[in-house]
């Protein structure tokens, strides 16, 4: 952080002093109570995963296990090792889909959003409206026609059947477009006058400026793709995803109840980790600080 930024931060802090401490206290107390309630499912899931099987059926469920045990986790890894298709294959499928889908969604969505927000070309408004309309469609509602389209394209039972539709996230595009509208035209003009091409402007000016937007988009995308389970579009066992495999393993009912508690925790860890990493990278981008008018 530069010295100038530090001074700005300092000024900002001073500007906020005129808020009363009592008000602050009430707000944070409220946030704290609510936060505790929000955190309970995770705490509960974690504590459940350390309970022996018999303790899972105590009602009302105790918050902490009486006799903590790791048998749920060891049981899970035992099961993972004994499947027909190696578990690493399922895991690879899910990681591959998540990474490619997320990168594609962010890059394609941003690329499309940039001219829609900042260029004026014939058909601009129409294209945006068309894309915007697709937002109002639920994937569940169009699942049958889209299956038939996948058949037409010959994509059934391939990775792209899962990845390509994920790349075309309209919500992501809309989010990026709204953020890009905020970038001052003067900055883009300056870059053009200095001889930068559109491609360069996009990667060197636009994308860094909307960093909070695409970091947020990454969180949403990973969250969605990581949890993608059994799909009607995939029937080869070696192409199926990790959540699907795990669903199969733990659908053994009561006998697998212990394992399923461990699985719940493991499945939540990845989106949460991505969330924490991206959020800690979001800092103020000061989108207009480069402009002196």
């Amino acid at each position: 952080m530069t010295k100038e930024n530090k001074v700005k931060r300092h000024l900002l802090k001073r500007a906020k002093v005129n808020r009363s401490h009592a008000g602050n206290f009430v707000v944070f107390a409220f946030i704290f109570v609510l936060g505790v309630f929000m955190a309970i499912p995770l705490v509960y899931a974690i504590s459940n995963s350390f309970k022996p099987l018999d303790e899972l059926w105590i009602f009302p469920p105790p918050l902490f296990p009486n006799q903590p045990t790791l048998e749920n986790y060891t049981g899970l890894f035992g099961l993972l090792g004994s499947s027909w298709v190696p578990m690493s294959r399922y895991l690879f499928n899910t990681i591959f889909i998540t990474v490619v889908g997320t990168v594609g969604q962010v890059v394609l969505g941003s690329m499309c959003a940039y001219p829609l927000a900042k260029h004026d070309f014939p058909g601009n408004k129409f294209i945006f409206k068309l894309i915007f309309f697709s937002l109002m469609f639920s994937g569940a509602v169009t699942s049958i026609p889209s299956y038939l389209i996948m058949v037409e394209l010959g994509w059934v039972d391939t990775y792209q059947a899962l990845i390509v539709p994920a790349m075309g996230s309209t919500m992501g595009l809309y989010l990026m477009k709204q953020f890009m509208e905020q970038i001052p035209n003067a900055l883009l003009e300056a870059a053009r006058i200095d001889g930068a091409g559109e491609w360069r402007i996009f990667w060197r000016i636009v994308m860094p400026m909307v960093k909070p937007a695409w970091l947020t988009l990454i969180v949403f995308s990973v969250q969605g793709l990581w949890n993608m389970g059994a799909s009607t579009l995939i029937y080869s066992e070696q192409l199926k995803t990790f959540p699907y495999a795990i669903t199969q393993i733990i659908s053994g009912g009561i006998a697998r109840a212990g394992v399923s508690t461990a699985v719940t925790v493991l499945m939540m860890i990845v989106p949460l980790t991505v969330f924490i990493i991206t959020q800690s990278n979001i800092i103020e981008t000061m989108s207009t600080s480069g402009v002196k008018e």
């Binding site: 700005k8 000024l11 906020k16 005129n18 109570v33 936060g35 309630f37 929000m38 309970i40 499912p41 509960y44 899931a45 009302p60 918050l63 394609l108 690329m111 499309c112 001219p115 260029h119 004026d120 070309f121 068309l130 109002m136 469609f137 639920s138 569940a140 509602v141 169009t142 026609p145 389209i149 539709p165 790349m167 075309g168 595009l173 989010l175 709204q178 953020f179 905020q182 001052p184 003067a186 559109e198 996009f202 970091l215 969605g224 949890n227 993608m228 959540p243 699907y244 669903t247 733990i250 399923s260 508690t261 719940t264 499945m267 989106p271 949460l272 979001i282 000061m286 989108s287 207009t288």
Partner: protein, 308 residues
């Protein structure tokens, strides 16, 4: 400053347009192939009857027959459409207000900020497993779902959590009475908070793109925090207010856990009445378009764009 339709030579203008198309092309081509073609097919299905042949399913155009049947024999459909719209009326303002307030608070500097943010994003992480239970994207984990649903899905779930806290204090003690009182209040907010995870993040990202120079200038001019909020924060964040409003409506109306969506999906996937499912889906789509249209019309005049 040059404006969009400024005095420029035509060649440069068309050159700019070209680069616009190049950037848009990958997304739009994919969009046309994947979404638009299935959408056209979907419309065709809504006005057809399905039949069998040697080549598989065939569609025969039958006009509005599906809709006649829908309105005359399917009472549940209209009822759940109106129920969805009704619950949206409460959900939309409360979610927007809540997520905005929370984002403003979470944007401040305090210790453990990252942790608190993660906590408020938790419902999104947890709920995706539950959402999967409706079947469109497959189950996260069947058993985990049951457990999580029991814990946080419905009202009974909220009680469950309360009970587990009460059991810490012991039944009938002052602690448990207090907790029950708090829980009743929180249960309402809790539902809203659960639906606000994404919106909070979007607002947070928006708050972080507000240049601090604006606040510095207003500080120099002696503005109060209250004035800053109305004159700087709110206008600067207004485009994202629109995004969040749209997202909230979409999430509520066309999310996989919506009653109408479930009904449409089951009609197609479980009862294999594809054309009826398409007819129901298409009508619902029109309803959603009208709702979003009204929303955009109402909110767009409040939105401030820096350069326009």
């Amino acid at each position: 400053m040059f404006n969009k339709k400024g005095k420029r030579s035509i060649s440069l203008e068309s050159k700019k347009a070209m680069s616009g198309y190049v950037f848009v092309a990958p997304f739009v081509i994919g969009f046309i192939f994947i979404f638009f073609s299935s959408f056209i097919f979907f419309i065709a299905m809504a006005f057809s009857e399905q039949g069998m042949s040697n080549e598989g399913m065939v569609l025969e155009f039958c006009g509005l027959k599906n809709y006649e049947e829908l309105f005359l024999s399917n009472m549940e459909y209209v009822k759940s459409v109106f129920a969805s719209l009704g619950s949206l009326l409460i959900r939309l303002p409360s979610v927007l207000l809540f997520s905005f307030m929370l984002a403003v608070v979470l944007n401040q500097q305090f210790k453990g900020r990252g942790l608190v943010r993660a906590v408020f994003f938790l419902p999104v992480v947890v709920a995706s497993g539950i959402a999967a239970s409706t079947g469109n994207s497959g189950g996260l984990l069947d058993n985990a779902q049951m457990m999580l649903q029991g814990m946080m899905g419905d009202d009974t779930g909220a009680q469950n959590i309360t009970e587990s806290i009460i059991s810490l204090f012991g039944e009938g003690s002052y602690g448990s009475v207090l907790i029950e009182g708090v829980a009743a209040v929180v249960a309402g907010i809790y539902d809203i908070a659960q639906a606000s995870g994404v919106q909070i993040l979007i607002f947070l990202a928006a708050l972080q793109t507000i240049p601090s120079s604006l606040y510095e200038a207003s500080y120099m001019d002696g503005a109060t925090g209250w004035e800053n909020f109305w004159k700087i924060t709110l206008p600067m964040i207004s485009p994202m207010l629109l995004v969040n409003a749209v997202y909230t409506v979409i999430d509520a109306l066309v999310g996989a856990d919506n009653a109408v969506v479930t009904m449409v999906y089951n009609m197609g996937a479980k009862q294999t009445n594809y054309t009826m499912s398409a007819a129901m889906g298409l009508l619902y789509f029109v309803v959603v378009v009208v709702v979003i249209g009204l929303l955009m019309w109402g909110l767009s005049r409040l939105v401030y764009y820096e350069d326009n």
